[in-house]
């Protein structure tokens, strides 16, 4: 029983970073932009937030928790927005191929994260591992009384505030897409930009806004991982392939942020299940780690076979829109 609770708790902890990434990617893809730079953007967001907190804690006499958290959120948002802006500028304004730009952005972002993560303390004249304990404590703080409830307290409430934000953002994004005019326009842009254009929707503006805000949401996933999961330190490539899992989760969730919430818990569970199955050799554990990807492939095949219109990717996904060339 105790093991099961720990497993579920850990699964959700793992899932939240992926959920941020997937929600951001869904918003981006709904505008027709397949941003494969999301893994890189998550690295950028994570390291920028960490750097912001690092310089603040280094500079301030008595670093406080709240300013540290706010500064790292701001830095994270700015860096991820910059990543989204680069992508949007190249694909929307300069009409470059989306896959190529996305992959280049992931190369850039991952390098950006590992470079600053590995050398920031050295550049600042210090030695050793970068660590921002004060700020991280703010990210890791849980609701005091509720999380102390025996048995279920930790499973239900044992998370920092970003976990709550992830759920709210995913729910709000679903509401935006399904219930509002802005969301309807965004979906129209992703399904058929020419039709949307003819209806008087500013296609390029929607693409820019969706891509940049999607990038910021995804960037928070990187920040969550660095601050709450790792406790305010950096491990090179520590974020691993979670960014690609986020891209995979978009498929599993069939382009719905609300479904991505459950999907992220499933992915989190699949990601760590190898630890909890008794009697599995080290080699077999590695095979179990491929489960999230295999599940994604199966979902991808099944949705393409069933061919239900509401389960499909946005129709113009991956294609640039040029008014003069339609």
């Amino acid at each position: 029983m105790n093991v099961l609770l720990t497993f579920l708790h850990q699964a959700i902890l793992q899932g939240i970073a992926i959920l941020f990434g997937a929600t951001g990617e869904i918003m981006t893809e709904k505008s027709g932009n397949l941003n494969l730079g999301i893994p890189g953007i998550m690295y950028m967001g994570g390291i920028a937030g960490l750097m912001g907190a690092f310089f603040y804690e280094k500079g301030a006499e008595q670093p406080g928790v709240v300013p540290g958290v706010l500064i790292s959120l701001l830095w994270c948002a700015v860096a991820s927005a910059l990543g989204g802006l680069i992508y949007a500028f190249l694909t929307v304004t300069l009409r470059a191929n989306q896959n190529v730009v996305g992959l280049a952005l992931t190369t850039f972002g991952t390098g950006f994260g590992n470079f600053f993560g590995g050398s920031i303390s050295k550049i600042a004249g210090g030695v050793g591992q970068i660590s921002v304990k004060t700020t991280a404590s703010g990210f890791q703080a849980t609701i005091p009384i509720l999380s102390d409830i025996p048995v279920i307290g930790r499973l239900l409430f044992g998370y920092g505030f970003l976990t709550c934000c992830a759920l709210i953002i995913a729910a709000a994004a679903t509401w935006l897409l399904v219930r509002t005019r802005v969301g309807l326009h965004l979906v129209a842009v992703g399904e058929s930009p020419a039709t949307a254009d003819a209806a008087g929707i500013n296609v390029n503006r929607y693409k820019y806004v969706a891509t940049i805000s999607g990038a910021v949401i995804a960037g928070f996933g990187g920040l969550y991982f660095v601050m709450e999961y790792l406790g305010g330190t950096w491990a090179n490539n520590g974020f691993g392939d979670r960014g690609w899992l986020a891209v995979a989760l978009v498929i599993l969730a069939l382009w719905s942020p609300a479904k991505a919430i459950w999907g992220s818990f499933v992915f989190g569970a699949l990601y760590i299940i190898y630890i909890y199955i008794p009697g599995v050799s080290r080699a077999m554990q590695e095979l179990l780690k491929m489960l999230p990807y295999v599940v994604t492939i199966l979902v991808l095949i099944m949705t393409s076979r069933r061919n239900r219109p509401e389960d499909q990717p946005p129709a113009s996904l991956g294609l640039s829109y040029f008014r003069e060339e339609r």
Binding site: V100, L103, G111
Partner: protein, 370 residues
């Protein structure tokens, strides 16, 4: 009568055709601009002299004969993968799975070295390795191709996911073969007698790599431009409906082309394992599968451009490792510089295809009139 006001607006005009010379000039300009931006970034971050950093990069890539050969080896490896991707891309099939196909090719090569190394002669071993790696890459590309052909399953995402499945399979075998036990890596295979390692030809260690890549490249371009099959896949890429109307068996063309593409990517795995690293790990592919996509696309499948772009990216990569140790920087600085370079090169294509014109429009009663 309403007062007329004028406003200047920028709009894009498609170029008729730019001369080759001007197009190359635009791209060189983009590289120079990228270098200047990178210089600012390096100075901003480290306070070091960017000229010194660039000299370090040059030194790292071509400073000694050995380093030069390694750079050449990396260039041809990247080139081989990019060449492999060309048929698939020409068919508008986004094979993002090169990374996994390389890994599987490399894995099988390592298995050949391990299990058959003591049995066969070197030349036979290398032939087996080349064939087996192609078969492995081909198998890894088969599944997404079949589902694309029959159910139109999105290949971009499918091939991408296959990479990570391949990565876990490699990790599985790494643990199975690890030496010494518990070290989590395979170590150099056949280190004592070099069975199955690519031999030196004319005293040059990587000449065999160059020969293989040159042959494959020539064959692929003959296939693409001089054969019926090459023509068919181009038609499918331009328009599936046209291809159907012309009586082309679209499914067969898709599967055939993707298998060719992924077999070549698998072959790159043999070149990396048998010719360079002599070991297998999840970093055997090392992102080359993704970089090659950028190489193939940016060169627009022109062989000369592909060589140039591969050389430039390998040069930056090799150089940055050296610079990193020289200036006490983290070696990931190469990814940042490569990224900025790519952004500029990708962006400059726009200016090859379009030009900006400033025109004056009259604004009358809130309406615009040219």
């Amino acid at each position: 009568m309403a007062a007329k006001r004028t406003k200047r607006v920028i709009h894009m005009v498609k170029r008729g055709n730019m001369t080759k010379f001007t197009a190359i000039l635009v791209r060189i300009l983009a590289v120079i601009l990228a270098m200047i931006v990178c210089g600012f970034v390096v100075v901003g971050v480290t306070g070091d002299n960017p000229v010194g950093v660039y000299r370090g990069i040059w030194d790292g890539a071509f400073g000694t004969g050995q380093r030069g050969w390694v750079t050449v080896r990396e260039t041809v490896t990247l080139l081989l993968i990019a060449v492999g991707l060309v048929p698939a891309f020409k068919m508008r099939y986004w094979n993002l799975g090169a990374e996994g196909q390389i890994l599987m090719g490399g894995l099988v090569s390592a298995a050949v070295l391990l299990y058959l190394g003591p049995i066969f002669e070197d030349w036979l071993l290398i032939l087996i390795m080349l064939a087996a790696s192609m078969a492995a890459g081909l198998l890894w590309g088969l599944l997404p191709a079949v589902f694309k052909a029959y159910f139109n399953t999105n290949e971009t995402l499918f091939t991408l996911m296959m990479n990570y499945v391949a990565m876990q399979i490699v990790t599985f075998f790494v643990i199975l073969w690890e030496s010494p036990k518990g070290s989590n890596h395979v170590g150099i295979i056949n280190a004592a007698h070099n069975e199955g390692w690519f031999p030196q030809i004319l005293g040059q260690p990587y000449l065999l790599d160059i020969i293989i890549v040159a042959v494959v490249m020539a064959l692929v371009f003959i296939y693409m431009t001089r054969t019926k099959q090459g023509y068919e896949l181009t038609v499918v890429g331009e328009s599936v409906n046209t291809a159907r109307y012309a009586g082309i068996n679209v499914r067969a063309v898709i599967i055939r082309t993707v298998l060719l593409s992924s077999a070549i990517c698998g072959l790159a795995g043999a070149m990396i394992v048998g010719g360079a690293s002599h070991t297998i790990s999840t970093s055997t592919a090392g992102g080359r599968g993704f970089t090659a996509i950028i190489v193939a696309w940016m060169s627009q499948f022109s062989p000369v451009a592909m060589i140039a772009v591969s050389l430039m990216l390998s040069f930056m990569d090799q150089g940055a490792v050296q610079t990193a140790s020289q200036f006490g920087l983290n070696e990931n600085v190469s990814d940042i510089i490569t990224g900025i370079l790519l952004f500029f090169l990708i962006g400059c294509e726009f200016f090859v295809r379009y030009r900006l014109e400033v025109t004056t429009v009259e604004i009358e009663d809130g309406k615009e009139r040219a």
